[in-house]
Symmetry: C2
Subunit: 250 residues, 2 copies
């Protein structure tokens, strides 16, 4: 049962998706949480656990538009960045000072922008259509995504690490922004291996951060567990080799 | 000169864009601010005022990825939602309690998601290509955007207003989330007038909120001033009649 966990996460049970950014934060902090929709249906799990929240008409409930959403302390919060901004300080994954918190949110939002673009590379027309029904448009969008957007975003993050006062995106402590960037790098490596390999020599600090996050004791245990859903072709990052290519020099 | 304003906003000087969400918050609160790039170049303005920040290599500076960004109290914050989350409480445009602040950020992020989709309706392949070079894809995407996404988002926001404990998205005080939703409604009315007209009878609370925001004394004065840049075909919301249509019933 879910009654004794401090956090209840609601997200699609078969993909990493945006929910993975919340899972990583909860896991990194060793938080007491339940990934509700991954429970058996007999214990209140499954995708159907999500549905009642989306059409909710409870007064003052701030009904979610879509998963992920998180229930904690009697409230429900939706939107990945809003959830992270709320739980980050509680989990020790955000700085104490308000300007620092704003910067960590800023970095998480930039990573989220890249996630949207990675998704739309295979779904440029509509999320409600199959990939196969928008493949010609995807080929066109992905080519520009790989040639222009991936290097622009990754060199930007590399620059943040070059100018950080520590080894993390914000100073000398890991924050939820680092977890978001870690997830983006893992996803891009899965979906666009040729692109990332061709860029790897230019993003040494980013790859070192990715390795450092993956080696954190709790994160390493999580990644090795069956709680980490493998990447697959239903999520944001999809291995469609026809969309992947080396990044042109320059 | 800009030295005496509490807030310096940096955003492209010829479009509303995402910067408008910051402008509206500063205007609604009567804040002391300068819209730096709208100053004459002789006074440090113009788009070139933005550039030095983007390639910045200052230690610990959290260099912006893109405008808008805001300079205040010696720090620079980028990403629209991070800026609003930071200045909202300072401007009296966010609740006092943390759950309330999370919900207001949640609503602003949902409005921001709709803004991304409104932009990509005319630029489904790449921001770096002209509309004319992705028009066939835009026709396809916009048709689904109007038929599925606009009604889904707007009925969602209408539901939030139905269940709010006050007349605003979050309770009985206007927040920056209301300003974001106001801007989305104004933009959709400009870019998709047939779609919005066909939906109008189903979103009375949303249209009443839009009118209420527009009638706020400071907002009304702003909208009537030359500080409000008119909508145009360089921004997020563009009047391309071929992309607009009535929302199919059902």
């Amino acid at each position: 049962m879910t009654a004794h966990a401090e956090y209840e996460l609601y997200y699609w049970p078969t993909i990493q998706g945006r929910g993975e950014l919340i899972r990583l934060a909860l896991e990194a902090a060793g938080a007491s949480y339940v990934d509700v929709a991954r429970l058996p249906e007999s214990k209140g799990g499954g995708a159907k656990a999500i549905m009642p929240f989306l059409g909710g008409k409870k007064k003052g409930a701030a009904t979610p538009f879509a998963p992920p959403f998180l229930r904690t302390g009697g409230i429900v919060i939706a939107q990945t960045a809003a959830i992270l901004s709320y739980i980050g300080p509680r989990l020790g994954l955000a700085p104490e000072d308000e300007p620092g918190r704003a910067h960590v949110l800023q970095h998480a939002l930039t990573a989220a922008d890249l996630i949207v673009e990675a998704h739309d590379a295979h779904h440029p027309i509509a999320g409600s259509l199959y990939y196969e029904d928008q493949k010609s448009e995807a080929l066109r969008r992905a080519k520009i995504f790989v040639a222009e957007r991936v290097p622009k975003f990754l060199s930007y993050f590399e620059g943040l690490l070059e100018t950080s006062e520590g080894e993390w995106l914000h100073g000398d402590r890991m924050t939820y922004a680092d977890l978001c960037f870690f997830q983006v790098l893992c996803g891009l490596e899965y979906a666009f291996p040729r692109a990332i390999t061709s860029l790897s020599s230019s993003i040494p600090l980013s790859l070192a951060l990715q390795e450092r996050v993956g080696a954190q004791k709790r994160i390493a245990a999580y990644l090795a567990s069956d709680r980490r859903i493998p990447f697959n072709e239903h999520g944001i990052f999809r291995k469609y080799p026809e969309l992947d290519s080396e990044v042109p020099a320059g």
